[in-house]
Amino acid sequence: MNSLLEIEGLNVTALVDGEQRPLIDQLSLSIAAGEAVGLVGESGSGKSMTARSIMRLLAKNVSATGSIHFDGRSVLDMNPKELREYRRSDVAMIFQDPRAAINPVRTVGDFLTEGLRKNTGMSKDEATTRAVDAMTTVGIHRARERMGQYPHEFSGGMLQRVMICSTLLTQTRLLLADEPTTALDVTTQAEVVGLLDALRRDRGLGLLFITHDLDLGAALCDRVCVMYAGRIVECRTAHDFYTHSRHPYSKALFDARPSVDQRVHRLPAIPGSPIALYDVGAACAFEPRCPFSVDACANAVPGLRNVNGGDVRCIRAEDTDTTDLVEERA
């Protein structure tokens, strides 16, 4: 399969107090056109840093090595001009809080047409027409009228639609959505992910969907990768995730989430708290919290290997059958 985005052995480190702290370790990931990949994990696991590396939106003290190729071109080697062009037309990113990502003192119409007019030299009328069309596509009613309104006159869900709309105006081929629905109500979340789903199918967009909600990631994406402490610990098709996942952390995440359908006597919580990659050393990061851990887990970083039709970073993956869990939840 020809991939739109191909990440190979990505390492990201941050320079803090004179020492290089690792944030992401040996991350490999590919996204094809029209494919949705979910990146799931808890805060600090490196999901957002992965997306930022793809955009090369990294702070001065953060550096990325390895390879990131977009459509055959190496993103990490682009010169400023190429990088500008890449960010302008090939890839777009939507953030968790749309209100923080839009200029509050300019109208939504200004925001949407600015890029079109500056980059393509389109006339004002033409750009406005294009923007109105795009707003209608993302389900914003009375689009022409709303173009003149300011961000504070939009609800959170509507503003997130505006952000999605802005990515449609360019010829974006890859959309990085970083927790785009976390700040939204659950009914609005359903509408917004429904929209993202339709757009990537209709337009063949590659979608990287970052979320802390394993259920949401599995519902929306073709493939789901779970991250823990800067490493991908499990990656398999969303369809298989409920029944075939073998990493103890993936299993624990499903278990720990309270279900709408039943009350359990006690939630199977994961003991301890998430750990940062630079505290891990040469060991499995999940080892201190893992019910399956053995001595060998603390001695080396387990590699990703194929178990049960997916990639799992666990030396005990054969022993962590999760079917009991699924029966319980079903």
Binding site: V186, G194, D215
Partner: protein, 271 residues
């Protein structure tokens, strides 16, 4: 028997002064419920549904425009004037906020934070206070080291445990939890929910659990009220309401929750 919390026709109207929409905004409209002591009532709704305003009125941070609120049989509809009366109120009802990053004093260690609360409400000797702080830390599962740390050295889950310990310090009858686990990661959220369940089982505290998360409500609440635009649209035992939601809004809420087999709704493009 006296209900731990009783509200009758509670209504809250805010005056809005804006450029476009001047006038009144009804945040809560005729809400009535009885919450029995030792039980957990869930309040579900989306942002703007009035659930937080309702919680704030019960704590005493807002006064209802009309209607009555009583806690343990004592009316607390009108505003208190004196600090003493305010403290007496606080002894009965405590609030745990959503964000443990902003609801704790960052310059205060856990011990100082709990000691301040105890000093304010009780007349304890230093030794007694020490014992009580240890007891509170045990109840919420904080270690000796954690409770001597400042918030910056604690994780989100540990901070929220400290916030819960601070609320429990005054031995309240009612604990109002306003989205208290929403900011926590899933693995930590489960720990805190279990901890809250243990506390309720051992101390018999009454919970008012405000959340937008139906899974959390299902796990914690005995009964639930569903709010929409300030009004209660559905109420009843949690299992009954969530298994067979009667109101169209509750049905939509439930069908929006992702889970095994869930698909995002087909987007109506170009409507």
């Amino acid at each position: 028997m006296i209900a731990a919390v009783r509200t009758k026709d509670v209504r809250k109207v805010f005056t809005v002064r804006g450029q476009r929409d001047q006038g009144e905004h009804v945040a809560v409209e005729s809400v009535s419920f009885d919450l029995e002591a030792g039980r957990c009532l869930g309040i579900v709704g989306e942002s703007g549904s009035g659930k937080t305003t309702l919680a704030r009125m019960i704590v005493g941070l807002e006064t209802p425009t009309s209607g009555t609120i009583s806690v343990c049989g004592i009316d607390r509809t009108s505003k208190v004037r004196s600090a003493g009366a305010r403290r007496a109120w606080a002894r009965r009802v405590q609030l745990v906020f959503q964000d443990p990053y902003t609801s704790l004093d960052r310059r205060q260690s856990g011990i100082d934070c709990l000691a301040e609360t105890l000093r304010l409400h009780f007349d304890l000797s230093e030794a007694q206070q020490k014992v009580r702080i240890r007891e509170l830390a045990d109840q919420v599962g904080l270690t000796e080291k954690q409770v001597t740390s400042r918030p910056a050295q604690l994780s989100g889950g540990q901070r929220q445990r400290l916030a819960i310990a601070r609320a429990l310090a005054v031995e309240p009858e009612v604990l109002v939890l306003d989205e208290s686990v929403s900011a926590l990661d899933v693995s930590v959220q489960a720990q805190v929910l279990n901890c809250l369940a243990d506390i309720q089982a051992s101390l018999g505290v009454t919970y008012l659990f405000v959340s937008h998360d139906l899974g959390v409500i299902r796990q914690m609440a005995d009964d639930v009220i569903v709010m929409l635009h300030g009004s209660v649209v559905e109420a009843g035992p949690t299992a009954a309401v969530l298994d067979s939601p009667a109101h169209e809004y509750t049905q939509r809420l439930k069908s929006s929750v992702p889970g095994p087999g869930w698909r995002p709704p087909i987007s109506k493009e170009s409507v």
